[in-house]
Structures are given as structure tokens and as C-alpha cells.
């Protein structure tokens, strides 16, 4: 059996720079930064006060068959982004219903926000026996995918949630790619979703990794990341079926790679990060010199950026392609990050522009790349590599290519 070609035909996005593919694209082009004061939890007493939140989100607009309060915020995001993606692909959920498919959603924290609230209630004196069963029911991470399947009534879909921390979005994209490519699935809804959580904010805060004002990847004065929420879901299908229905194709997925540092719980490992990019390029059949743009993991922490750029240089040499960090605009959306990165990469390919690395002042000599500071540029892109790295050394890189009908 010949492997099928896999194309990306729909994008659904929730982000601090805009919801929906149109606003998201505009935000990327304009170089918007979605940082703002934390409103999702009481940030009293924290020394850092900023995060990237999703605004103007009305759950009932997207969650139609389930009482919305039964779903945690990350699950609501996942459902909303999936509905957006299907609609953006020009599909009705009914079109997917009877055909075998995959719904794979990556997440770092799942419904940790719901757990935080239960723990807070306990800390304030609620005994476990009196915990709110509806709130407890939101907790299980697998509901991020299950709720999509139930809401869209996708009766032949396999629902999985991948918990590979901050690279989970790319893991999900890769899983969908393999399933569609082999013919196991006719379609895949893949991506990532995370809601802002106090727990993760407190953890990064304690580790000294949260910036005081803005996230400035690759900048000499970068202080760290800003935690964020968001979701990105992509529709993947095989090229022939996309052609047959006259679908608009954003990009072709050319391949991906995944590996594990097996080195340290939190510190990334240069050689292993280089290796995951090599694996992805080999899978895609693409040479390093054919890559026009890297969408970096680019958290803006001192260690990540140096390690990642060293790895980029290992693979691409001393003149690497433009390397941008979307987290300057979007914050660190955790499990959604590389899904949003894949979405942005596809949009960059489709519309011929490079989204910028905003908040940028002076490039750190140790991160010497053209990070396209502050302003998007028009560019004729053919191949983009989208990186995702994670605590636990879970790395994944996805390679996307411009689609041209011959």
C-alpha cells in the first residue's frame, strides 16, 4: 500500500491574540502580544502578575449537547477549537461521522484548574466527602478528546489525550499524521488545549522562570516565560479526499519526529533536541537547507533558548533559517503551544509571511538567529519546522510544506 499524503484543511484557534483563524492570522501578522493581568485566579501575593488569557469566550456557543458546567475550561476550549476547525475546513460534523477518524488532543495540565479549585475548597475547610461531584467529574484528562467526540457526535472516532506536557500538541499532530497516512483513519482532529492554572503558574514562579513584564525569546534581557491558555485544533485528511471535495489546503504535513532526552526532568538536552529535528527532517524527506523557517519552542527562559538555538545550529549550521518564537505573542500555552505553532506555520505557508518574535530589543549573542524581531515580513515559504519541547525530555518536531496544486 502506498502511503497517502496528509494535508491540513481546517484550523480552530483560541488564543490571547484572537479567537478563530481569521483573528489569529491577523494577530500574527500584526505582531500582537496577548499579555495582561491575571483574572482567571486570585493572583494576590504573587510577585509576578501577568499571563496570556483567552478573552471573549462563551462556552455555550460551542458546547451544545452537554451542560457546559460539566466540562472544565480546557475541555470547553478543546470542543470550541474542534468545532471551529471542522467548520473552517468546510465540513459538517456529519461528514465525518461514519468514517473512521482520530481525535487526539495534547495537554499539559488537563483540568488542573478544576483540581486547583477543589483543593482550594479543601484548604478552606470543605471535607473531601462534600466535594462537588460535578466539579470532580471534570477532572479526568481524557475528557478533552472525549467531549469533542460526544459534542460533534463522531461515532467512529478514537479519542485520545496525550499528556506529553508542553510538546503534547506536536505529539497529537504526529499521531494524526501517522493514522491518516497509513489509511487507518480517514480524518484526524488533532491539536492541544490548556487553560490557565494557578498550580502551573505557582510552579514556574517558584522556579524563577516567569517574566515580570513580557516574554522576550532570544533577547539578551529575557527573564522567562508568561504562562498562557489557548487551544489549537487542526483538521488533517488525505490529499485525495481533500481534492475530491474541493477543500482549501493550508499546508501539507511532510513528516514529524519524536524522541526523549532520557536525561533530566526539567532541563532540555542539546543533542537530543537536535536529534528530534533530524528525525523530523528525515521523515519528511527534507534537507536542512530546504527549510525556510523554524517555529521554535522558544519559551523565553534563559536555558531553553540557548539550548534550542545550539541544537538548531547543530542541524542547520551557522546560517540557520529564520527562527521565530510565537510565545512572545501567545505566551506559553503549554500543551496547546506546538499545536498553535503548527497552525501558525500552516498559515505562514498559505499566506506567505513570517510571524514575528515580538517584545524584542537586543538579540542574545548566545541565541544568534534572525528571529524576525517585532514585525512580520512577507516571505515565499516552502518548508517550516515546528518544534515542541517538554519537561521530561519529551520532544517532537513537525515539518510542514507549502501546498501547490500542480
Amino acid at each position: 500500500m502506498t502511503a497517502r499524503r496528509v494535508v491540513l484543511t481546517g484550523i480552530g484557534v483560541l488564543s490571547s491574540i484572537g479567537n478563530g483563524v481569521t483573528e489569529f492570522t491577523r494577530g500574527l501578522r500584526e505582531g500582537r502580544c496577548g499579555a495582561g493581568p491575571i483574572t482567571r485566579f486570585d493572583s494576590t501575593g504573587f510577585r509576578r502578575q501577568l499571563a496570556h488569557e483567552v478573552h471573549d469566550f462563551t462556552p455555550s456557543q460551542w458546547v451544545r449537547h452537554t451542560p457546559a458546567e460539566q466540562l472544565g475550561r480546557a475541555t470547553q476550549f478543546s470542543v470550541a477549537a474542534a468545532r471551529m476547525a471542522v467548520s473552517d475546513a468546510g465540513l459538517d460534523p456529519a461528514d465525518l461521522r461514519e468514517r473512521p477518524g482520530l481525535v487526539t488532543v495534547g495537554t499539559t495540565d488537563g483540568e488542573a484548574d478544576a483540581l486547583d479549585r477543589l483543593v482550594e475548597a479543601q484548604a478552606n475547610g470543605t471535607v473531601p466527602a462534600d466535594l462537588d461531584p460535578v466539579a470532580v467529574g471534570r477532572l479526568a484528562a481524557h475528557r478533552l478528546a472525549l467531549a469533542v467526540v460526544r459534542e460533534l457526535r463522531l461515532s467512529r472516532a478514537v479519542p485520545s489525550v496525550l499528556g506529553t506536557a508542553c510538546a503534547a500538541g506536536n505529539y497529537a499532530v504526529g499521531d494524526g499524521y501517522d493514522a491518516v497516512r497509513s489509511g487507518e483513519a480517514d480524518w484526524a482532529l488533532v491539536g492541544g488545549a490548556d487553560a490557565l492554572t494557578r498550580r502551573t503558574f505557582a510552579g514556574f514562579h517558584r522556579l524563577g522562570l516567569v517574566a515580570s513584564d513580557r516574554c522576550r525569546p532570544f533577547d539578551a534581557d529575557r527573564e522567562g516565560l508568561l504562562t498562557a491558555e489557548g487551544a489549537g485544533v487542526l483538521v488533517l485528511e488525505d490529499l485525495e479526499s481533500a481534492r475530491a471535495r474541493g477543500a482549501r489546503v493550508y499546508a501539507e504535513l511532510l513528516g514529524y519526529g519524536l524522541n526523549c532526552d532520557a536525561h533530566h526532568p526539567t532541563a532540555p538536552h542539546t543533542d537530543s533536541v537536535a536529534q528530534v529535528m533530524r528525525l523530523a527532517l528525515a521523515d519528511a524527506g527534507v534537507k536542512p537547507e530546504e527549510v525556510d523557517l523554524i517555529s521554535a519552542h522558544g519559551t523565553g527562559t534563559p536555558t531553553n533558548d540557548v539550548t534550542e538555538i545550539r541544537a538548531v545550529r547543530q542541524v542547520f549550521g551557522d546560517r540557520p533559517p529564520r527562527t521565530v518564537a510565537l510565545k512572545s505573542m501567545l505566551g506559553h500555552t503549554m500543551g496547546a503551544a506546538s499545536a498553535l505553532g503548527a497552525a501558525a506555520s500552516a498559515l505562514a505557508l498559505a499566506h506567505g509571511f513570517v510571524p514575528p518574535t515580538v517584545n524584542h530589543r537586543t538579540t542574545d549573542p548566545e541565541c544568534a538567529v534572525d528571529c524576525v524581531p517585532n514585525h512580520a515580513v512577507d516571505a515565499d515559504l516552502r518548508v517550516v519546522v515546528n518544534n515542541g519541547l517538554a519537561f521530561g525530555g519529551n520532544n517532537a518536531a513537525v515539518v510542514l510544506g507549502r501546498h501547490q496544486e500542480s
Partner: protein
Amino acid sequence: MTTVAVPTDRHFITAWSAVSPYGLESADYARGVTADVAADAGDGSRAVPVPDGHAGEQACLVPGFEVREVLGRAGTRTMDRATGLAVTAVRELFDEASRARRPVPVGTGTALVLATTLGSAQSQHDFAHASFTGEKPYDVPAQYMPNVLMNCPAAASAIRFGLKGPNTTLAGGRPSGLLALGYARRLLAAGRAERVLVGAVEEYSPSRSWIEHHTRAADETPGPLGEGCALLLVEPGNGIPAGRTALAELLAVDARVDVDDRLATTAEACVRAALAAAGVEAPDVWAAVAGGLTGRTGHVETALLRRLFGPEATDRVHVHTHIGDTAAASTTFQLAALLATAKGDPTSHGRPAVITSIDRDGSVACAVVRLLGEET
């Protein structure tokens, strides 16, 4: 003696481990699940009282499992229970293979795919609790930050044993272990790993207990919670080293969700699709092992299996009555129990078997394997 043809595009279970309420070793588990239930103490399970759970609660714990006693003091300072159980299960599988002089290679060719509900609910709970009760809200134990992530058990196992291949943590509710098998098959089919350790982990902890307590349906009559980690080594037919025995061939995995409140219909469609994909006829099935949920949902599953495969097949393998409710790990423990039971029964050789799971939220999954016996 029959020679089992081993083609290249097929996937085989060639080893397993189970850190279970019967002990750390697969032999403990095999002995436990194949023993006559009545021979066990009390109600047949391994349940012991757990003082931190809800009133009068009992649970099936891995006996005497203290992470640093089992794994030593090096590199274990921040390991929580879920992580310790997973690392131990990997160690046990590797050690047993090495004792049989068929060591499992580590490095980039070996993937680990681990299913779980949340990772360690207790670690997450404790971390958040520190934020609410500390002097400052950021007074959280930073060294435990990796433990609040679901991928901690898989990542820690990779660090401990040098597993540099794909390392994936998957959440899928009770059918998680079967979804992980499907995922592992995709990795192998795409050539992303030469072999996959695939399984699931679930810890007992007061936090998990309370979550489970509030998640159950009113009509359930649940047994005690169980814990542990079970792992299968899955290898493609052309990747099995000489001397390692294929225990079972993985023929099919089907998973889907009841989206129309027609659970029985969905479950039957799932099982029939898996049988069809496997090329297996229901009357040939040697054993059918259900997911162990009680109440109406569980009854749908057991009634379906009995109707399709008959009481002889559905009564061959016992799991959950022995080790308790292992939630996301239940299906991998079902598979391990199937392999252990089949090993002692020559009538299983060459016959297909079925593993199913249904969750409260309408997820259903079914795997079909062919039992190959152990020809040594």
C-alpha cells in the same frame, strides 16, 4: 512442533510485567490471578484497610511498596508512587528478559507508551495545596514540579533506563491501555520505534480515592480500588530476537464512543469491528475478558461478551476481583492476566482472545489477540 510464521508487518507481545497487589514480579501476578479465588483470603481480593481514604475503605495495594525501598536511594528522592510503580514495572520487565538471556535493548529504538488517568493525583493535589496554605502562594515545592505533570512516570522511566525513543503518556479513561496499544501499533507501523513498551499505571492515593468516589454512578457496587503498573513488550515480527518467544499476536484494536446513548449497540459494533479486522469468528474465541465496571454500564459489557462468546470464554480469566479497580491500568492488567492464564492452559494455543473495556462516559474499546503459547 508447530512453527509460528512471523511476518514483518505484524505485531507481537513478547514479554510482560505486572507490579500488582500480588507483588513486584510477573510470577507473583501469574500465581495470583490463576489461583482459585476461593483460595484467597476473605472476599478473594487483596484489599487492606486504608486509613486515609473514605470511611471504612479498603484498597488493593502493592504490598510493602515504598519507592526508595524498592528502587534504592539513588535518583528516587522526588519519585511519587505512580512514578515508582512505573519505573519498577520497567525494571521488572528488563530484569526478567535479561535473566532469560534475551535483554531488551534500550536507547533510541525503544519507545515507552504509558497510559494513566492523571499521573499522580496526590502529587498534583499536594502541590496545589502548598500554594493555598504556604506563607506565599508561590511556596510550592519546586522539586516536585515534574510530578504534577502526567508524563512524570514515563519520563522518569526513560531517564532511569536510557529509553530515548518515543515516550508518550496517554489518557483515555478505563480503556486507556487499549488506546495505548493502538498508539503503539501506529508507532511501529510508521517505523518510529523498533519495539514498544506499552502499558499503564495507576497509584492508590487518598486523592485518587476521593476522585473515584465522586465519579462513580449511583448504581455501581464497586469493589476496592487497586493499583500497579502493567507493561507489555510489543515487537514487529521481523524485530523479535532469536530465542524470544512471541506470546500473542496483536490482531486488532477498535475504540469508539457512544454518542447516541445507545451503549449496547456501540459496544457490540466495537467488538464486531475488532473481530472482523482480526479475521476472527466469535465461536473460536478462547477467552473474553471484561473491564470490570459494575452497575448498568458494566452489565452491558458482561452481557455482550457472554452472548457473543459464551460463559466458558468469559469465565476463564479473572482480574478485577483479585487486584481491585485499576482504572486506566485495568485493560493492561486484563491482558497480562490473559497471558498468564493462557500459559498454563494448552487449549489456548493458537486461539484468539478478546479484551474489552467500557467507561462511564461511553468510551468503549476492544482488542483481539491470538494466543501463541510458549514454545521453549
